[in-house]
Every structure is written in C-alpha cells, then in structure tokens.
C-alpha cells in the first residue's frame, strides 16, 4: 500500500491506518530531528510532535507529491521551533556517537574506526548553526533533492544552494580544525 493510499484511508475515517505511516517514516523523522536538535530526548519529542502535526494536517497533504518530503518538512519545522524555544538554549550533547545505531556487518576494528569518524563528523555538525544542520541533514543524510530541501525549509532554491555551500565549507573547516587539534 502506498503512502498516498494510507493517507486516503486515514481521511476516509480509518484513523488507525496512521500507525502504518508512523512505522514507515518514524525512523527517518526521528533521525532528522536528532541531527537538527543533537539531543535524543528532544528529537523524540520533536518527532512525536511532527507526527501529531501531520495527523492534524492530513487533509492539507497533496497526494500528487510524495509523502516523505512532506513529513520531513514538518519534522524539520518542529525541530527548528524547538531549538528556538526558551528551554533549548542549553548546549546539546551532540558529540556522542550513536549508541544504539542500527546494526552493521563491519568487524569490531572497522566498527571502532568508523565510530570515531562518525563521532567526529557529528561533533563538527553540532557546532554548525541549526539552519545549516537542517540543510545538511535533509540533503546528505536524507538524500533529498535541492528542490525538496527548499520546500522543506520554505526557502528559495538559490538560498538553499547558498546555505548548503556555506554549511559544507563550515563543516570541512570544523573537521579540519578538529583533526589539526588532535594531531
């Protein structure tokens, strides 16, 4: 059953069908929130909030477009709103590598090296401004097209390209700085 069919079922009164969308998109929505907020608890709250907002606005979803970018846009907005709110001014604990990452088939040594590299990237990403984190997350972690990122962030395409260009440059600089500091 496609996402559009599930949405149609929800709108026709089968509200329990929404559970299918939560199962299907929960992981990606949570990961978008996690990378933007850099805090597991906040990410869980924002991801839940995103689904509740999506449920309230299902009638506004246009089935001519894919469901994924739509729900990820809501998750991005919820996460950025959270960061702007008064209780989000504490420093996020973003340097932690994922503790319960989905399992990989790499050996222990390779896993350790990879974990360190991932930890470095996440730490560098956490130091970026939230808008840059959101753009990088949508573009490179969720693999959205430029247009989809622009739609999700409600920014013109040109602005998104500029944001991403600056975000990548800042990420590269921070990674280089961290590596220099370690050696």
């Amino acid at each position: 059953m496609t996402d559009q069919e599930v949405v149609a079922r929800c709108l026709s009164g089968d509200r329990d069908a929404f559970a299918i969308l939560v199962e299907r998109w929960g992981g990606r929505v949570y990961n978008v929130a996690l990378r933007i907020t850099a805090d597991a608890d906040a990410a869980s709250d924002c991801a839940q909030e995103a689904f509740v907002r999506a449920y309230r606005s299902l009638h506004r979803y246009d089935p001519a477009y894919p469901f994924g970018p739509w729900i990820l846009k809501i998750a991005t907005n919820a996460s950025l709103t959270h960061l702007r709110s008064w209780h989000a001014h504490e420093e996020p604990m973003g340097d932690e590598p994922p503790e319960h990452a989905e399992p990989s088939e790499a050996g222990p040594e390779e896993t350790a090296v990879r974990r360190e590299a991932v930890s470095e990237v996440l730490a560098a990403m956490t130091a970026l401004p939230p808008a840059y984190r959101a753009a990088l997350t949508l573009r490179h972690l969720q693999q959205l097209s430029y247009q989809e990122v622009a739609d999700a962030l409600e920014l013109p395409l040109g602005t998104v390209k500029t944001h991403l260009h600056r975000a990548r440059a800042a990420l590269r600089a921070r990674l280089a700085g961290r590596r220099k500091g370690m050696s």
Binding site: R35, S44, Q48, F51, V52, E102, V121, Q143, L175
Partner: protein, 128 residues
Amino acid sequence: MSGHRPADLAPEERAVDRVLAAVPPVAPPIGFRDAVLRRIRAERRSPYEWPMALALALPSLAYLFWAVGLNGSDIAVAIENVFALAAGTEGQAFFSVDGLLVLAFALLGVGALLGTHALITPAEEAGR
C-alpha cells in the same frame, strides 16, 4: 527521495556527501510508535470534551452568579447555618435548599472534571 544519492548531486558535494552518508541511522527509542499513537488518540478525544465542558459549565456559572447576585444574603445565611450545624454549635438550624442551585453546582463540577481531563490527558499521554 529514494534513499539513494540525489540525482542532482554536484561533483563538489560528493566528498561531504560521502562523509555524511557514513553516519548510520539511529533507531527511534523503544516505545516511540506507541507514544505517537497515544498522542494521536488523545487528539481525537479532546475535541469533544472541551465543548461539552463549556456547555455544562458556562450556563451553570451564569446561573450561579445570577442567583448569588439576587439572593446572596439568603445563601450566605443558609451556608452559615449548615456550618453551625456541622460544627455542633447549634442543635437545630434552618436552611432552605434551592434545587436549581444544587443542579448548577453539580453541572459545574461535571464540566470542570471534563475540562480537567481534556487538559491533562494529552500531556499525560505524551509523557509516557
């Protein structure tokens, strides 16, 4: 959005894309799905509770204000007598009970209960 690299990936993006694509997805916390569905169920329930609470409480409040404005001194004397009887300072006490007043209090109570339930349910459900 296919889960693969975006078709419009420019050559200058590839290096950063490779680095970020290596970040593994993190599984949502245990109970995430159930927490979302509980909040959705709470969403469905509360729209009916608020109008009912208001429909019960507002006319009752209006009647209570009107009654207190009209017969405030009688009501105060009746309440004093009830307290005096309860405290045992008087063996006998006279007070009259206005049926509509009691009904208004009861409906206000029910309305307050419904309103409180509508207010606390989403927060309680989300917190689990």
